[in-house]
Symmetry: D2
Subunit: 390 residues, 4 copies
């Protein structure tokens, strides 16, 4: 059987609309009316076809709820957090956490941009020549920097790390990609750098432009140690009265459950994540604001800390690799753009501000989930509000 | 400052429409017209508000492209794969992989349902009483099974594992949740089982209904070893002529890059995943078909294998924990339902069939990415087709 | 240059003594007197040459100190713990911990024998035939059990686990090897089982008798989850007065340091161990009692738990994979045999008793180290007592 | 029951001999003659008591066999490798690997000294002040360097890394400790640095001088990424004729088994080590040459690479954290000193040279084990030569 060519349709059609329509006919075997929701879209077909999605046939819609308001020390306005999710109880859970944080004198956020990375791997003739390549890169860093920066006016070269395994050299290039998440920019710059390295070196071969040492969209320790995208930490001191009134729990219960679940339970499971449901909140904000949802994999490797203090709890959530941006990819889509504007209370937030809000929202979700576990009301909430989280 | 209560709005409004409208007014500070795309939705407000998303204000739209057709030995029809994504080049990449698989005599899939899990953790008085609790559970398994199954007609108890750490007992309960992904059902059943254990045991306390040993939406080794949801393996023998004509590469190049990237590079990064971009494809199909995108975290811990054979390559991708379903959560949404129907060529696929397609589509994505790395055309593709993928 | 054959010497010599002497001459280039300590040994040359060490040339001596006495609930006598070490402060540290445990109403130990494992890996024609092999093994378990048990009167077959990756089947066979650590027995039994599987199956090939899934002498999560050798947990309630008088610290300080170091610090380092210096104590007892010191790698993946209680601390150390024995390998050597006898207070302890003592001694070491960290006296101790420990 | 004080004996005795004798009487309950081997020692009681081992009662003896000769490009002489082991077949296995390497034109070694580390953890008032502490350390690095170097004439400060988790700062200090393994020196220097930090900072508290981020004697990714002690890589091209004649195997078999075992099997087991038996060889050389055997835990996290080449195999073993020295700890003991001299062919090797030999010997062990797995002769070897390895 000869496979039908969806690509050919794109080439033959005289307009994006026609291409979409022809594809719909083809994949539905002529039963377009059976797919009226999937085949309906309000998106701009030309732009989306060109930039975001080949073989376009339509779109799906994901409901957006709003959690908050959330008060963050580094932002002057009350923040409403748009969450695109179909998981009942999630928005309610984050909202409760926001209330706890806001009533505790606001969440506070530290943000440090670590840069976007890409990691080519090169093959040399032996370990000694791999060592020489590492030395060559060290002495030619300024040249490579120039090469990288020539590929885009938005990209700045920041630094690199390198490792040898056998006769292979793994290079982890780190770039400032401005307001973009920047994976594309980093790939193009790494390609230029890699080609220059190969051209300058005798017998050096590029094995792969991406060697998983980046690490993109896979769990890794390297991202936790070096960071990727934005390193964010949200924290707060929660007084006992807020624990009691809003979270219906106590500092001791929170600490006991946190230790048994996030510090010991994760370890038993062979997991290096130390949190309860960061992936849930991350996925919901990433979708709402036009980020790449596959980046939830790296971003959710997050670390909750709780300490008992006089009169309450110190809580913090460290997220070493939030890969996000305000330009590029799906960020320009209209609803997603408006969702970011909503976060900015009418003004477009910077990527750094967005990263703060993401961190604080994830902390809110952690507090609320942990509290509901201490009171064993998780199952009850899910019976009432739909599907289970965490 | 008194935080504004979004929840109160829901209670005061006389209809879901009014509630949505009031919330829109509130969060936009009266500037609703600035958020016309975000605040627009075709979804059923009543159902979505009740089941999927509290504090509903609107929705976002994600474009859907289609990859394929893909031929799978276990399915009689050509499969078109709907991918909800904004990442340029992704659909094209999966399509190329589908072509390679289809021309190689179809992909073949193994699927085994492992069940949905939830892991309560209990505190005992000391290690000895923890040991006794473990023994009690063993002898009362049939009672607990009855308790679990009384919570839902769709749920069957399957098995359990248990571990002691100090005086805590971690229990991992495994359920068959039928066609649902089942996290909610499993939570409710685990709640009943946990309450029964606590009632029957002297001095045993439930610390948390979920202890991260499940493991839900976090990277873990436990899911790789025991599986969660569906264990899927897709495989194919790719002849040299398909490697050359479709993937523009050779068996030797594929193997060299796979080893340097997935087997060694991942290890260097401190990652136990052995794949290139499974998270991308998983996120796109999960979104298109109404799954929970946060499950991409566990699901993407997948393992690619390549072996040179006479005349080509044996390739396989093992995905031990695909948490998905055809009922529950966001699966009922109209476009998402139609996307599954598209996969079933007009018939609704079972969760098992869906799992097969997901596995094979991920394998397609792996082959195409790996091939483009061997030919160093990744950067080029992204320049042409938009944003970078892993 | 033709390499000199040390093996030929063994064959030519008419006695073990002569062989040793000829080898000493050869490797010292005739300068035997320069190596008078290394070339001196009181060991039985014939037995050692035949069973423990090819190309024998002499021996090294390691000092043995004694920690204790340690009181353990499951043992009726005071235990003295022989530690073979050159690390100043280690014996003193363990002794202090023993004192704390003994004064706190004795340590209590749980021991469960999990069995010795070996993991062959088989190649099949494809995933489907791999699946069939797994099914075949399931239905032929009793036959394979017989085959395994025919290889030794000391070995009992216990169970197996299996996994598929691509077209490879990984089998983890679990045996009761009686009082022996049993790696050798398990290897021979696995060899017989593997040969039977290959003989019975069409197109199945044994790739390796050991596939690292055992896991032997490498860090792994699989051993933590399933156990290997002896699973041991030692625990104790330490009253505040003992914390103050013996350990010079408080429950709060201990908990704070434990959390920052073992639960969070280990995680930051990308380590799944949650302890301070188990490897030190394990190495010292393993060497003193004739165990294989390379098993410290798996054995030291141990998990300390601390909980504040009314009036003190609950402490426990879980060690899921202590591979040890009282027969086989180097256990028969005279000083090492006597070291075990010392542990048994004049009687030879069983492997289970030995495992208890090892667990409790490691807990003693943990308490003492943690206490010294809380008081910041670690550097001071090392200045006074020699070299640094963890 | 009042525990008997072994420490008091030490204080009362008028000589080390008397102290040893009194302890022997005490721990043997007067039956000294039952422990004649354990209580016998040729070691210098005074020095050992003072520097290496408190509560000294005697010693154990471990047989030493010799593997080799091994030819290494960076050393001008044939190397004999002393291995202290009781594991039958180990010396034979390493010897076979040495023969293969030597006949293949010598092993080649890369060595890079990474330095010894210690990682204090500090508590601050909140995340912001943690951030300020990190900034303070950065601007005061030269002062801290001076403080560190004032503690020992043998120690040079090299660099540091730092991380924030919540309001804790984890500092990883890296020192050059000259020819010593240097854990003690690094601890004392870190103590001085930590005290200075605390003195200069308002509200900063030292939680622990060692936070497991070092990482000492625990598995970790941090040591693989940054190295600790010596980073060593040994490599060789093995021609097909050596594979056939010495290792009785082929390049294809070696590669197939390596991939299934070290790259895939380890991953399945949840292990980030990629080798077969490095721990065996490391333990045996470390014991023979006076190193700390607990360092086998970190050191054995080693990575084997195999690549097919025209006419044979490229093989390499990367060991990122070999913690060893030629002075300090147990290195001065007479037999252990002579063992190092044996390695140096009559001259004392430097720590760098020793590290090379350790790396090459481990590679020899890997090749031999892998070859025996491909031919399925492992069980046979163990039947013939004693106990199982790997």
């Amino acid at each position: 059987m000869k496979p039908i060519s969806l690509f050919d349709i794109g080439k033959k059609a005289t307009s994006p609309e026609e291409a979409v329509s022809l594809r719909q006919k083809l994949v539905s075997r002529g039963a377009e009316s059976d797919y009226s929701h999937l085949f309906h879209t309000t998106l701009d077909l030309e732009t989306v076809s060109a930039k975001n999605c080949e073989n376009l046939i339509g779109s799906i819609e994901i409901p957006v709820g709003v959690a908050g308001p959330l008060l963050i020390k580094q932002l002057s306005h009350e923040v409403f957090i748009p969450l695109a999710t179909t998981e009942g109880a999630l928005v309610a859970s984050v909202s409760r956490g926001c209330k706890a944080l806001s009533l505790s004198g606001r969440a506070s956020c530290l943000v440090e941009y670590k840069g976007m990375t890409r990691s080519p791997v090169f093959a040399c003739q032996d370990g000694r020549s791999a060592n020489e390549l590492v030395a060559w890169i060290k002495t030619h860093e300024s040249v490579l920097k120039k090469t990288a920066e020539a590929t885009s006016s938005h990209l700045k070269y920041l630094s690199y790390q390198s490792w040898i395994r056998g006769r292979h050299v793994y290079l982890r290039l780190v770039f400032d990609t401005d307001e973009a998440m920047g994976m594309n920019m980093a790939t193009i710059a790494s390609d230029a750098v890699s080609r220059e390295i190969v051209a300058a070196s005798d017998g050096v071969k590029l094995i792969a432009l991406s060697s998983n040492v980046c690490t993109d969209k896979k769990d890794s320790v390297i991202n936790s140690l070096f960071g990727r995208g934005y390193w964010v930490q949200a924290e707060c001191f929660i007084p006992d009265e807020v624990l009691t009134s809003v979270l219906k729990t106590t500092a001791d219960f929170m600490l006991e459950t946190h230790t048994a679940k996030n510090l010991v339970g994760s370890n038993l499971a062979g997991s290096l994540s130390q949190n309860g449901q960061v992936a849930n909140i991350l996925a919901a904000i990433y979708l709402a604001t036009g980020q790449d949802p596959a980046h939830v994999v790296d971003g959710s490797k997050a670390f909750l800390n709780l300490e008992k203090t006089d009169g309450g709890l110190y809580v913090s959530l460290t997220l070493p690799s939030l890969e996000l941006g305000t330009v590029g990819g799906g960020t320009y889509l209209p609803a997603q753009t408006e969702a970011r504007k909503l976060i900015g209370n009418g003004n477009m937030p910077t990527a750094t501000e967005l990263a703060s809000v993401v961190g604080a929202a994830c902390l809110a979700g952690e507090l609320s989930l942990l509290a509901s576990l201490t009171t064993n009301t998780l199952a009850k909430a899910h019976k009432a509000l739909g599907r289970a989280k965490q």
